[in-house]
Symmetry: C2
Subunit: 619 residues, 2 copies
């Protein structure tokens, strides 16, 4: 393709404008990362005004190209680009980092042109990969561009995405590395040697192009070449200089430092002198109408009543897999992601039924969650499942998903000490705490197959944040009827009488310990009420309180989870100002291998511990 000189001049002019605005806005804010923006300005100008095809008045349009700023601290550059496009004014951008602005220090979707919240490094490529795979599976024609910093290339999460992108031949994913040599406090690990860096991408199966990231012609040609690669994803490694165009160029010690109001004029002058021709040109950005994002709601659906019969023994994780299969028939946008444990989480059932809507992440939990964020942004309904303990591997990604207000559905299996012989490394014991702390999250914890069937559907319907489904490994007896109803924030009173001496709040596996304790105590003429708290967040405060008041004002919580951040603490917080005596049974020590029964007893969360706790409260 022949590239017009006029085009290149225009792109350089855009880059110049963006550089100026980045300096002005960060100085106005009194903080931010101007030098980071200067290194990538040419790349972003070329992307926004040459490489990318998109409708600026409708950023959600089906075949718009996507852009993820993985190096989120370059946010001012993103905002400057959208100002050049015409959807922001200079005044908007000058509000950078202020409380009243949606243009935050790192990009968040309060500014609706942001495709993904970034700022914790090394996540953008997996998010972009999710979008690209989503497009690929649905024959959509858009490209996904991800701009990475060279510093963040040391995050293992990036290499997870690199490997998976090549494995899935996602050719419409284009990564661009702003290879500017300087990190926050040190030179990057690769220094300024793109050749060595390029070898790595190549070895992982990517098409690679190395360019001078300040040469607009090279940038434009590289973008053309990348789009012509039909087999593989492409990375453009762009050698750049941090602080390009001003006196701190390529100098250590200027990361994350805004220039003072006194210094600013000198810096702007330097830009003007360095980019004389580019500064002269005039292009008036259009004034575009503001975009109001519309959420794509989960469609209405109904499933037939489930067929689990009472007292059959079914593992909740298995019921989960079976429910997913049924959901697949009514929800075309449901996509299930696995981290190579699908035969344990039973997502394999979904893969068998809908192979094209299943994504195998192999053992790469961070990439799995990153991809889910990207898929969610495209309007898919992603459900990611692995062992509960291994969600801790992607805790930072899940945290960022919450900030991104992504509707992720997560299912964690192999929870608690009751998994038994495999030992503590495989036991999810911190997952309730981790998931409860996410703003806008819900935490659901079914004990049997019927409630799993219902709660899986509720998780899919929930779209205001992250929904977490905690799934027991063991086959548990079905205690509910197919017609029983469940809701987010609900609970079930399983046992109650007019003469209860205490109330037991249980969830998951401990529901059965509570029922055993109930039967044993009943033989001794001690009646207790039992609540199945299947919704840990939100929590059914009213029911717990009423049952506790009715039951002698005595309450026992019992959970197969660490005490801290768990159900017991949640209940203590909720009931903090009620006159109710509470005993909390939870795991407090490092566990070990053993049978489920031995371990429930060892950690004092079994029926015997409950009986003891009831006696203690009654003394």
């Amino acid at each position: 393709m022949k590239i017009s000189l006029d085009l290149l001049a225009q792109l350089r002019h855009r880059a110049y404008n963006m550089r100026v605005l980045c300096l002005e806005a960060t100085t106005e804010a009194g903080s931010g990362h101007p030098t980071t923006c200067l290194s990538a300005a040419d790349l972003v100008a070329a992307l926004f005004f040459y490489g990318m095809q998109y409708d600026p008045e409708n950023p959600a349009a089906r075949n718009n190209d996507r852009f993820i700023l993985s190096k989120g601290h370059g946010a001012p550059l993103l905002y400057a680009a959208w100002k050049e496009v015409g959807v922001l004014t200079k005044e908007d951008v000058m509000g950078l980092r202020s409380f009243s602005s949606v243009l935050e220090g790192h990009p968040v979707p309060r500014f609706p042109y942001v495709e993904a919240a970034t700022g914790s490094l090394g996540m953008g490529l997996s998010i972009g990969l999710g979008m690209a795979i989503g497009g690929q599976r649905n024959n959509r024609s858009f490209y996904t561009y991800v701009l990475l910093g060279d510093s963040e290339m040391t995050e293992g999460s990036v290499w997870e995405a690199i490997e998976l992108a090549a494995y899935y031949n996602v050719n419409r994913l284009i990564a661009i590395v702003d290879f500017n040599r300087l990190g926050q406090s040190i030179e990057t690990i690769d220094d300024h040697d793109p050749a060595k860096h390029e070898e790595r991408w190549k070895a992982f199966g990517w098409h690679t192009i190395t360019i001078d990231g300040h040469d607009m012609k090279e940038i434009v040609e590289a973008l053309d070449e990348a789009k012509k690669e039909y087999e593989k994803p492409t990375v453009i490694i762009a050698k750049t200089f941090k602080g390009y165009g001003i006196e701190v160029e390529d100098k250590m010690g200027y990361h994350g430092k805004a220039f003072s109001k006194e210094e600013l004029p000198k810096m702007l002058k330097q830009l003007e002198e360095r980019f004389k021709e580019d500064a002269k040109m005039q292009i008036e950005p259009p004034k575009l109408k503001p975009y109001t994002p519309r959420r794509k709601d989960v469609p209405e659906f109904t499933l037939p009543p489930c067929s689990y019969s009472k007292d059959a023994k079914v593992a909740p994780r298995k019921a989960f897999g079976e429910t997913l299969v049924q959901l697949g028939t009514v929800l075309n946008d449901l996509i299930v992601l696995d981290a190579e444990v699908k035969n344990s989480t039973f997502t394999q059932l979904f893969e068998d039924a809908y192979p094209s809507r299943f994504i195998e992440s192999f053992i790469a939990e961070q990439a799995m969650i990153g991809m889910a964020i990207g898929l969610s942004s495209l309007g898919y309904i992603p459900f990611s499942a692995t062992f509960a303990s291994f969600f801790s591997r992607a805790h930072d990604q899940i945290r960022m998903a919450a900030i991104n207000r992504s509707a992720l559905r997560l299912a964690g299996t192999h929870v608690g000490v009751s998994i038994g012989q495999d030992g503590p490394s495989q036991m999810g014991l911190e997952d309730i705490g981790m998931m409860r702390a996410l703003p806008d999250s819900v935490v659901l914890y079914p004990c049997d197959a019927v409630s799993t069937y219902a709660l899986t559907q509720l998780a899919v319907r929930y779209q205001d944040g992250i929904s977490y489904l905690r799934l027991t490994r063991a086959a548990t007896p079905v205690i509910y009827e197919p017609g029983d109803t469940f809701f987010i924030g609900g609970s079930k009173v399983l046992k109650e009488s007019d003469n209860d001496r205490a109330c037991i709040v249980a969830a998951g596996i401990t529901v059965f310990e509570a029922l055993k304790a109930y039967e044993e105590l009943k033989k001794r003429n001690i009646l207790v009420s039992v609540i199945d708290l299947y919704s840990i967040k939100p929590l059914d405060y009213e029911t717990i309180k009423q049952q506790a008041l009715k039951a002698n004002k005595k309450l026992i919580t019992v959970e197969d989870h660490f005490l801290q951040g768990g159900m017991g603490e949640a209940v203590c917080y909720a009931l903090r100002n009620d006159d109710i005596t509470i005993e909390v049974l939870a795991v407090t020590d490092i566990s070990r291998s053993g049978t489920p029964e031995e371990l429930l007893a060892y950690h004092k969360i079994d029926h015997m511990a409950l009986i003891e706790a009831v006696y203690k409260l009654l003394v």
Copy 2:
């Protein structure tokens, strides 16, 4: 080197014995991963009886070679190897996975020959790297061997360690990949193509050797070659077959499945036929005396009183860096690890003073924690620091460190919404919950420079688990005298009178909001007591209770952290059965950019919110 046939025959015999025992023990246990053990048996036999130099009666000896089983589900093989060495009996190994045995489903240091708890995949190499760097920095001559599975190579954490090992030229680190093609539920991403896989390690700067992992001569020669590499770390990619030697060899569907007691004789027969010669040989393992591990305690030390003067403004993170420098003079084994934010966490001060005891992990938090585990095992005192929010990136490693009973010291800076303009991606708001939930952890949260000086020392002294130091970004006024004392589980009553109408429990930045509220309320003739709860775990229940009872039985907690898992819930749990009215002020929503003051007010955790809460309690 000339290798004797006799040696090879002996190694094959060891491998045969180990295969037999792995089948027997997993069948006896009724669970486990026998086929995983069969693929790696030849490698482990060669390591234990040829490659490694160690004193089996003193596994902690200074120059013993180290062995990390990164593929922790191969635990039976590890135990079988130690049985061959003579430190375990067959009966010991047959107790595999039982409650009464220290030989768990995945290795933990309850069996003292385990160098690191594994079982969450992809961590072993960074732990080994920590050991190798520790040895390198101290001119120790041992080698560190890490056995990895091919499935776990998709974990980004492995590539973090690979990159850092090459960067630091850690030539005494030898990785061995058991390249057996089959994962848990699927073929590995690399299938059985070691060449493609080898390219990746090469591109990251490793010396690579590819061998037939069942050919003992090739294994032995590769180990020799690896030891002769003086510049780089070496990886031996060993092409193997899962289930090698029995009818399920190289077949999908046999991961994590023990054979039944009925099937076992057939499998043992197949082994005997396949390895006829190896089966025949007889070597009687010696009976070695059992090893009792001794902990290397942190040496006694005293620092001079600190020199921070009252009302000076010093950021706790800065005081932390300055304290580390002082600790460096009295603790030779103190090593500080950074994840490329040392100029923000002020660990740069330590690097400047003691460059040889500083490890730059670049932006690779998982590797940073993995290395700290390895360093801790060698007897070093590792202190790792980064932004609190980014510890979530290494949550799984930290979880495993707790299972490993490692004495890690972690410092998280940039906590809470009070960091201001950078926005939510940089705000640590879940760290208290995450760290509290670790068994045996302590969580310390100084508000000023003097308490930081004291608590940093306490964190270093604590050796029964993980100590976490939560550090405020802003410069806060010094409120303590250099002579004031602090202890784990303590608190400070900053304000009290005989007429207190409520008690405020604060920590870190909210201590100053509480003091402001105190002054304002005092003007209005309302007295409140104020507690600085600098030790969040353990928590000073007695003082809080007494102050609350004295203060009208009314308590307010205020923290710059999410409500869930935070200080407020911890207090509600502790005081659950006391007749005290509690109000909890904490962050519950997604934050945004703004000034610290704006954000403290927005989330209702500032002095105005406290005043309002006091009034509400008094109505």
